[in-house]
Symmetry: C3
Subunit: 338 residues, 3 copies
């Protein structure tokens, strides 16, 4: 930049003097595994990724604005470390700018949806890998064929989060502008309470479907920490026009010594409406996490899905199943955060 231009720009527009280095936190996680997936009579062994936590590379930071306020940004890319690829949206996982203070947080950009956050924390497998509760959800993008693209994340979101000093109450309201793109306009609400061993929440969302109607998600879930075991339960109802799927998850996480955690979940799904009444499914998953250190873990997970009627849910997405075929998968991997 020419010196004079920089001086002019400093007055006319935003200009940080010489882009002085601010406090940028570069963070990430790589999760790589080898897994074997079986769908009906076919099986496949492959290197895969992100079965305990989503592989990522991110940049984030914040600035103190005074008066208890701060501005913060968060850019987080999704990685497939087995192949070195990233997602079509480079900062697929999160791309947000926030203003926050004692009144809560205003957050703008691409982010997890409020309804996704209504079940992710109650899945012992954190909606990752062969044990993810989302495996039994129906339709492309897990939205029953409605064309909605908001099961997990959304673009163009305006979110308000309650502040953290409400005696355990927490919550979020989110509205994502559709901008004329079908399947994108999202509105969601989540309210929760967390105190001591208990954490409960409810959430509701609706997304304008492609074609007609709205794709809606209702969740209610909770967890109780008995120390020797943490039990979780969540009910998720996805619905679009006459179609509904009711998914229940019962989960447990059991500490094993100082470094281990056993995880298990049982996930029955009941489909109904639009001729799908017979298309039920259920998933059972069990896994073990072993910490090698503060930032590195080994893991193994086994999962099995039984399909009925026309349901063809699988524990992994690279093989397509036929109606009623069962699926099972096992994966062994390493996860490292930085």
């Amino acid at each position: 930049m020419k010196k004079s231009g920089a001086a002019l720009a400093a007055i006319l527009a935003l200009q940080v003097p010489a882009w002085a280095q601010s406090d940028v936190n570069v963070f990430g996680l790589l999760d790589v595994n080898v897994r074997n997936i079986r769908v009906g009579p076919t099986s496949k062994t492959e290197m895969h990724n992100s079965s305990v936590a989503g592989s990522r590379l991110g940049f984030r930071g914040s600035e103190d604005l005074g008066g208890g306020m701060k501005a913060s940004y968060w850019l987080e890319a999704a990685l497939s470390p087995d192949t070195g690829t990233t997602a079509p949206r480079f900062f697929h996982r999160r791309s947000t700018l926030s203003l926050s203070g004692s009144m809560g947080e205003l957050r703008l950009g691409r982010d997890l949806t409020a309804s996704f956050q209504g079940f992710v924390y109650y899945d012992p497998f954190a909606v990752n890998g062969v044990g993810s509760v989302q495996n039994v959800f129906g339709g492309a993008g897990y939205t029953l064929g409605s064309g909605a693209v908001t099961s997990s994340r959304t673009d163009n979101a305006i979110s308000y989060f309650l502040p953290s000093n409400l005696g355990g109450w927490n919550g979020q309201f989110m509205h994502a502008l559709g901008e004329g793109v079908a399947g994108s306009a999202y509105t969601g609400l989540r309210v929760g309470y967390a105190q001591g061993p208990i954490d409960v929440s409810v959430a509701y969302s609706e997304t304008d479907a492609v074609g007609s109607g709205k794709f809606t998600v209702r969740t209610i879930g909770g967890t109780y920490d008995f120390k020797s075991v943490k039990l979780t339960a969540v009910h998720i109802q996805n619905a679009w026009l006459p179609r509904k799927e009711n998914v229940w998850l019962l989960g447990a996480a059991v500490p094993v010594g100082d470094a281990g955690t056993l995880r298990a979940s049982y996930v029955p799904k009941n489909a109904s409406g639009g001729g799908t009444d017979a298309n039920d499914a259920r998933q059972f998953a069990v896994g073990y996490l072993h910490k090698l250190s503060k930032r590195t873990m080994l893991y193994g997970t086994y999962s099995r899905i039984q399909n009925k009627g026309a349901s063809n849910a699988t524990v992994g997405s690279t093989l397509a199943g036929a109606a009623g075929q069962n699926s099972r998968g096992v994966e062994l991997g390493i996860v490292h955060a930085f």
Copy 2:
């Protein structure tokens, strides 16, 4: 890397011992807004980005070579923080390697063009958002239908910049190799003088058009800082074969208290040649910037374009306008640099 290979490579080729950490400056900016654009009878509300400054993530640094010389690199990606996307060229904004010293700077790679730098500093809206002077430019890529892709940036550029110790004189010569790709071969020159309250410059460029002829840009502009107000004026002439557009910008930036700046511009365009004589347009924009801190600002901008003849310029690019339809837009946003 195997140890022996590293030792060999250290002699045969470039090798920094164990890639010892050097001084990398990670920097960036997120600019997110909500805007309403009206084009003719149609209006649209959307989340948008980069209306005060281009959203970005960058990596840069330099090395002292001794004798007043240094080597420096600059990699700068363009972001759309509302959706998490990046540009097709990942380091769209800048990707350069430089050698510089008391004789000036030699810069190689992708960069802003010399002619773009002939008007960007004189636009109170810094060629961003609904108030950008470029909104009234004609044709795809703002180049009158010539196919030239060099209105703002170019690949494969070799630039020489004058050193900063010439008593206020500054300038740049830039040549971008076309490499056989039509619309890409660019040659440009900019010369300026900046001292105290005054900053003036002229620039000229030509780009081989797709098909025949050259797309040329001529600019002359200046600014004078009266402290209570900074006035700017620039004339830009884009031309291709018989077609010409003469664009004038009159602008002002007025400090409001310690934290505010009012910005305004009036931009008439006269089109001529090739049957375009009736296709004039003019834009009026006004906005307010409010600093929350050193690195965070709120802003609001309003802009309006009046089109004549077949001109269909709009204040935002997501809605297409018909001949002669007017356009107006308003945007409210946050910008945060890091």
Copy 3:
């Protein structure tokens, strides 16, 4: 993230408390040049990149696991700094997660192949630019038309590296899962010995070809450092079904003063089988590297390929040659590591 969710996730899944900043090494290299390539009667001048070393931006780090063990990650993107573009696989150059200790290293992900590492260190031009030994290799992806995509790198690799304390012995076994994608399933082995002035190794690999058969690579190479000159020699045999190419490289690197290195290589290729017996080629390259500092160098390289029969190898990839046409190229550039 809501506080309660974070607390839950910390037990159920991997969670680094508040993603505390760990030691991330951001590193990279930009190599930009201007070159002229001639192929038969046609020549082209262009800005190009990565002719001494691959331009890159990377992130890497490690964690001490205790007991001499560590976990480490390496994400390395490929850049074209002349245009700001990256590769289709963003972390094209490397994307790996490792566990290592006194028993060696287990490495998972995308990486250089074992067989590529069997010749890259013996090429004075490090398989970059107009002097790269790979220029004479036949077929798309340098694999004789077999469709194998593993000449340089591979996805989905499981590698084991010998530890570094074996008295000079070193080596690697690599297996890349094909995952049903033709041309991808790779198995390779490299064993070497490096002590004092000597460094020798052999490697063998096979990749399932598209269609039938396997693409195989055999290498044997070495170098001896006489101080006044380092001599290198390597033999590479690429083979697929009846087709074979035997490539020999004789190379030298000569220190010139404190800052310079002269590099030269002579690379004859003998093609045979499948009607290719007449399609031989040979390349001669000479270049000079001049260090401006620890991290910045200037360079110039000249290279020439003589083709026989139907061979149409070129010193640069942007111009296609006809059967038997010769090619030559010269490039002048700057390389800067950070």
